[in-house]
């Protein structure tokens, strides 16, 4: 156990100082923060430009539901029809117009049409006006009291999902923000730590320092130490990123985007579990590959190929938007290599049936345990194997515990 910890500490300390790690941990978030700040500034500036301050707003109230006695805010212009308002918008006379449908008293729904974003100030002004109107006109059929409290309810309800959004583009982004950040974090961290693990093993084999290592530690201690050390490195990376995100949120305090960010606790828990289990799945797989392949280049090719499935759900994003509980998302939920990202996306757009969630987690745990066990066997067997690469059949024999038979050709060639 002591030696396992020594290996873990060494792996952590040597890799944490690597330039590639420092760049991934600090460089990338700094760049992201910079990007977010720039985007926020630009959008604020853009919002300011298109800000509706009462001089360029149109409104259409064909059914005359609004109280005649309450004047529209200053600069609001009435249009008789949607068509007239749209023409004015397109001509640049106004930058936004509101349509108050006849069902407004009952539903509270109003439609806002604009090319750019609309500011919170604008929305507040519209709400004040509508509330004043509701208060002034008892003839406002439906639910005037309700309209006093909630003058507008311009929610977008996502199909197939229990989640609703404000009539605000930021809200849509806000819902995506946490899962997307998770997926990016998950994939970079996985890629980085697993690649470190794999290239470390390849280097130790290529440098033949493995011969010295295995006379000091058992292959199990070596593999365990590497998995632990680099796992902690991955957590360290995640920690730094979470801090960076909190900092970014601080910078964005008070903006529409931040107020719309949704962090459902169930999703956070799910993400954490999948993150940890997936790390062990990939890390032990990569350790096995590193032990078998002779060169870093080849190992990287394998790594690229094997991490592709994690990104597959993102590539098929449209399928998830159309039907998060369709066949493809369901199948991807059950495949351990694609399940992490799939589950997150499905949970954002809809809800995953509990039995599917349980099956997915069970399958992933079982696969992870099997791969860690098989990798440990392959790892032990192939540490001192130079020059010759075992074929799939030979590897299968090793996994089944027929290692001595499998070493024949390699051992003879080696000596």
């Amino acid at each position: 156990m002591n030696r396992l910890l020594t290996v873990a500490q060494y792996e952590f300390m040597t890799n944490v100082k690597k330039r590639s790690f420092l760049w991934a941990v600090f460089g990338a978030p700094l760049l992201s923060i910079g990007l977010v700040v720039v985007i926020t500034l630009v959008s604020t500036f853009a919002a300011g430009e298109s800000d509706v301050d009462g001089e360029n707003v149109g409104y259409v109230d064909p059914a005359l539901v609004l109280a005649a006695g309450v004047p529209a805010p200053e600069g609001f212009r009435a249009y008789a029809t949607d068509t007239a308002a749209r023409a004015a918008l397109e001509a640049g006379e106004i930058s936004v117009y509101i349509v108050i449908p006849p069902v407004y008293p009952a539903t509270g729904n109003v439609s806002i049409f604009a090319y750019g974003g609309v500011s919170d100030d604008f929305k507040r002004e519209v709400r004040r006006w509508l509330a004043a109107s509701a208060a002034a006109d008892p003839s406002l059929a439906g639910a005037p009291a309700e309209r006093l409290v909630n003058p507008t309810r311009g929610n977008i309800v996502l199909e197939n999902s229990g989640r609703t959004l404000d009539d605000d583009p930021a809200a849509f982004l806000g819902l995506f923000l946490v899962p997307v950040v998770f997926i990016i974090l998950f994939m970079t961290s996985l890629q980085l730590t697993s690649t470190f693990l794999m290239s470390g093993v390849v280097e130790e084999k290529a440098n033949r320092i493995m011969e010295i290592l295995v006379t000091s530690v058992t292959p199990g201690q070596l593999l365990g130490g590497k998995l632990l050390g680099l796992g902690l490195l991955g957590l360290f990376q995640v920690g730094v990123w979470v801090l960076a995100i909190l900092l970014a949120l601080l910078l964005l305090r008070g903006t529409a985007l931040l107020s719309a960010v949704v962090i459902p606790p169930d999703l956070v828990l799910l993400m954490s579990v999948y993150f940890v289990v997936n790390y062990f799945l990939y890390a032990s797989l990569f350790a096995g590959i590193g032990a078998v392949t002779g060169s870093e280049q080849e190992a990287r090719q394998w790594a690229g190929l094997l991490t592709f499935p994690t990104a597959l759900p993102l590539i098929l994003l449209v399928t998830f938007l159309a039907d998060p509980n369709g066949t493809i998302p369901t199948v991807l939920t059950l495949i351990p290599f694609t399940s992490a990202v799939t589950i997150i996306l499905r949970s954002v757009f809809g809800s995953v049936p509990p039995e599917q969630l349980a099956l997915s987690l069970g399958l992933m745990l079982a696969t992870t345990v099997f791969i860690t066990w098989a990798s440990a066997r392959v790892f032990r067997w192939s540490l001192l194997l130079y020059g010759k690469k075992p074929g799939p059949r030979e590897l299968w024999r090793v996994i089944r515990g027929r290692a001595e038979v499998a070493t024949t050709a390699a051992a003879i060639q080696e000596r």
């Binding site: 280097e203 440098n207 033949r208 493995m210 011969e211 295995v214 001192l384 024949t408 000596r415």
Partner: protein, 306 residues
């Protein structure tokens, strides 16, 4: 030191499929001796060493290290320098020494202290914080040796200890090994440099095709291979001497000629004849004891080794 051998091997066998890598091999290595493990390439030396180190297990037979099957504690008392040298190239020298020392059970501070002392001894102190890749090949060899002895082992298993070293550093390593023996340490040295074995080794084992060929004190083995012949240097008609059946010019690179003697003739008889003879003048007279290299070639060659 305990009474048992450093290594005791009893009838070990190891096969890879149909290939018999080691066959019925037995030997022992004592504390306070340098033991040479010899044999042509592919003879089974590496397999034997790996079995001693418990990297692979024998199919049958018994291996005891410090009197018992290899334990973690015993592992900490072994220093191993494999033929294929390996170091972490992008890690500073001292940092790597500390890591490998800790894996051998040293505390971090102790490993650092000993690492610095060894680097000092090898005149590498100024490179302690340099990356291994910044060192010359010879310096890396010395660092490698430092890794092997950092934890002050009781047994050193070392494959080709002098390869890649210049004469000065060869002497440094040689003195270190002799010192180590003097302190009661056991050295197993696998090498093809026969002159080093003649100079340093107390006993030896030669294997070929996985089987024991020669085993015992180096001097005894050389004497066993002594020809019924003498080497003389001087002038005269050697073939005319009574009891000399054949005269062979040279003697494996040594000066002089080799006189092969009749079955019942002894070296003393020939010396007496030379003294009596007026036709011969002698400058050197010695028994034809072959070098280890000759013995190696003879035994390995006969066995079809390369």
């Amino acid at each position: 030191m305990a009474a048992h051998s450093a290594i005791h091997i009893e009838r070990i066998n190891k096969s890879y499929g149909d290939f018999r890598a080691v066959s019925d091999l037995s030997f022992a290595v004592q504390h306070g001796e340098i033991f040479a493990l010899l044999g042509p390439n592919g003879a089974g030396k590496s397999t034997t060493i790996r079995m001693i180190l418990d990297i692979i297990q024998p199919d049958s037979g018994r291996i005891a290290v410090f009197g018992a099957p290899l334990t973690d504690a015993a592992r900490n008392r072994i220093g191993y320098l494999p033929e294929e040298r390996g170091l972490y190239k992008s890690v500073p020298v001292l940092e790597m020494l500390v890591y490998l020392g800790r894996l051998k059970g040293l505390s971090g501070s102790e490993a650092k202290k000993r690492g610095l002392a060894l680097l000092e001894r090898f005149e590498l102190a100024e490179y302690a914080r340099k990356k291994v890749s910044d060192l010359s090949k010879g310096m890396q060899q010395k660092v490698q040796f430092a890794v092997t002895i950092l934890h002050e082992p009781d047994l050193i298993i070392i494959d080709e200890p002098f390869s890649g070293l210049d004469p000065v550093n060869r002497l440094v390593i040689k003195n270190l090994l002799l010192e180590f023996r003097q302190r009661g340490g056991a050295v197993v040295m696998s090498t093809h440099q026969m002159n080093q074995v003649e100079e340093m080794a107390d006993r030896m084992l030669m294997i070929s095709r996985g089987q024991q060929k020669l085993y015992g004190p180096v001097d005894d083995i050389r004497r066993q291979f002594a020809l019924h012949a003498i080497i003389v240097q001087g002038s005269g008609d050697w073939s005319a001497l009574p009891g000399v059946v054949r005269v062979e010019p040279g003697s494996n690179g040594r000066d002089g000629v080799t006189l092969h003697l009749a079955e019942k003739t002894t070296a003393d008889d020939v010396l007496a004849e030379i003294a009596r003879s007026r036709n011969t003048r002698i400058e050197k007279f010695e028994l034809a004891i072959p070098s280890l290299e000759d013995i190696f070639i003879r035994v390995a060659g006969k066995d079809g080794g390369q």
